[in-house]
Symmetry: C2
Subunit: 329 residues, 2 copies
């Protein structure tokens, strides 16, 4: 990590690591916050879930009751929340990092030196683009959606699809170094980070739904699930998601690494963006309906690979059972 | 290749290579026929296209006017044609390898010793399953759809998704060794080979269409095509097809490695199979409509990545130009 900090901008903090606030301690936020702790930062976490706070405190983190409190004296503030509404709330709510309009005069005094906010949620690009207009001068912002899942978050090996000013990147660099394996620099304003994330989520969602459709059809035709997996992962029909998620199906393990509801949401942003731009997205729309069907059937909180259970419900195919299920009966 | 031939079954041919007939000298058939020539086999090719015959003769192959003539004294007969109708015709037509029902008594006398037919087309699994019933006793058959494209066909490095009896594989082994990098053995009867191929084609078609949809949306949002490609190929949204086909889009090169019409056909088999089985396939259906739209717009004979041109027509996005186009204007 040497050589990345510019003494001219880090000032009298050049010998101390900047304080970091992590707003949102879900699977991704908790992993990232703990990776930052491992890297030696003072990290304050905040979440509405008391269990998550307790767990983070037990791991050696500081905890706070509100985003405003978590951000006190923090120079790098991560918003690892789920959607644009939550970004609004943790930034501009009564107890938000910035607070409502009437309370913004003193923001800079509350935060640490040279503060930068990283918007890590998957949000509509237009929302990300408009955010900096509402941020007081002196506070930088990076549009920085993250990708990679809970395991890579914990290991500090996320992919970040990021756009923002050179100064904002300079300020955020210590945190980015510790939380990410790859930082894609996508432009010098907020917006393109979220646009590229949306392209990725479109593909990820369609590929999971397609993997389920293909695997289910194969089972209906009488093929063996493991055989399908072995051939497809060695063929031109393969995708990152087929290989990753169909392994969950083979194991009969639908514990949520990322839940069905996440793609109901993310493909919702994709198709809403398509409607706003008057741009047809037929595959995204079809995939969104499959995740919605899975949620309707009660699988919303299961792993997103449970979208294949729509076929089990409809057409009675037999999915591989979990090892413990097989042992039990 | 040593040790694969069993002297008990190869009999007095153990020192001579079996004669091979290749029915169909399109991109895949020509490549395979030439790879077999390279491996030292006597290969007779047959095609309705006179140019293809001429080209194969120039490469050192023998040529024949009809499937029946090509198969004379051949022990291994490949059917590298486009669909089930063509398989029917080259097998059971007046000049077919087997011929019409009234002419089947003498078939074995016309063919080489211990003949085996490889069905290499993408066909409905039910069609492949029923084929052996119409083949006279003494002639073996393998359901052996191929995958990999023209370049791998020429190099003898295809993937073969194959099912058939142990005896049929024994007889076909010399050809399979020379034409394929991988032979997936999927069962001991015809049908499963075509079922697995169908699963692969479902995914391949959906992934190409999804890649086009994602890339087009990214362009519409103002992103740079090369940037999208770089980020996605390093992310969880990647697929084999995204990586391969979007490279054609970046180069503005729509010369057909595999044409749009192939996926109009293959996704047609997928959705027809779904209808026959009463099994819903919403993503396949959406992708099929996109390839159909591309064919409607006149791109049927272009590379299948030209499915992205549907968006160019509809929504005026600017696709990358070919290098020579850019130089010209």
């Amino acid at each position: 990590m040497s050589g990345r900090l510019d003494p001219a901008t880090t000032g009298n903090q050049s010998s101390a690591k900047p304080r970091i606030a992590v707003i949102g301690l879900g699977a991704m936020g908790m992993g990232t916050a703990r990776a930052l702790l491992d890297a030696g930062f003072a990290v304050t976490g905040c979440d509405v879930n008391a269990e998550a706070l307790k767990s983070f405190a037990a791991a050696g983190g500081e905890i706070a009751d509100t985003p405003a409190q978590a951000a006190e004296r923090a120079s790098i503030i991560l918003l690892v929340v789920v959607n644009a509404d939550q970004v609004e709330q943790v930034l501009f709510g009564a107890d938000g990092v910035i607070g409502p309009e009437r309370a913004r005069a003193n923001v800079s005094a509350r935060l640490g030196e040279q503060p930068v906010i990283l918007q890590n949620a998957t949000v509509p690009p237009a929302f990300a683009e408009a955010l900096p207009e509402q941020i007081p001068a002196g506070i930088d912002m990076i549009d920085a959606p993250i990708s990679g899942g809970a395991v890579k978050a914990r290991a500090g090996e996320l992919s970040v699809m990021a756009s923002g000013s050179a100064q904002a990147f300079e300020r955020a660099q210590p945190a980015l170094n510790a939380m990410a394996a790859v930082v894609h620099r996508l432009g010098d304003v907020c917006g393109p980070g979220s646009s590229v994330k949306l392209v990725n989520q479109l593909l990820a969602g369609v590929h999971i739904s397609a993997a389920a459709e293909a695997m289910a059809l194969g089972l209906r035709m009488g093929l063996d699930a493991q055989t399908i997996y072995n051939v497809i992962t060695a063929s031109a029909g393969n995708s990152w998601m087929f290989e990753n998620r169909m392994a969950h199906v083979l194991e009969g393990d639908y514990s949520p690494r990322s839940a069905v509801e996440i793609f109901v949401k993310d493909l919702g942003i994709v198709t809403q963006t398509g409607r706003d731009l008057r741009f047809p997205l037929p595959l995204s729309a079809a995939a969104q309906q499959q995740f919605t069907a899975a949620a309707a059937a009660g699988y919303g909180r299961e792993d997103d690979s449970a979208v294949i259970k729509v076929y089990e419900r409809l057409a009675g195919i037999q999915l591989p059972a979990a090892a413990n299920d097989a042992a039990g009966g």
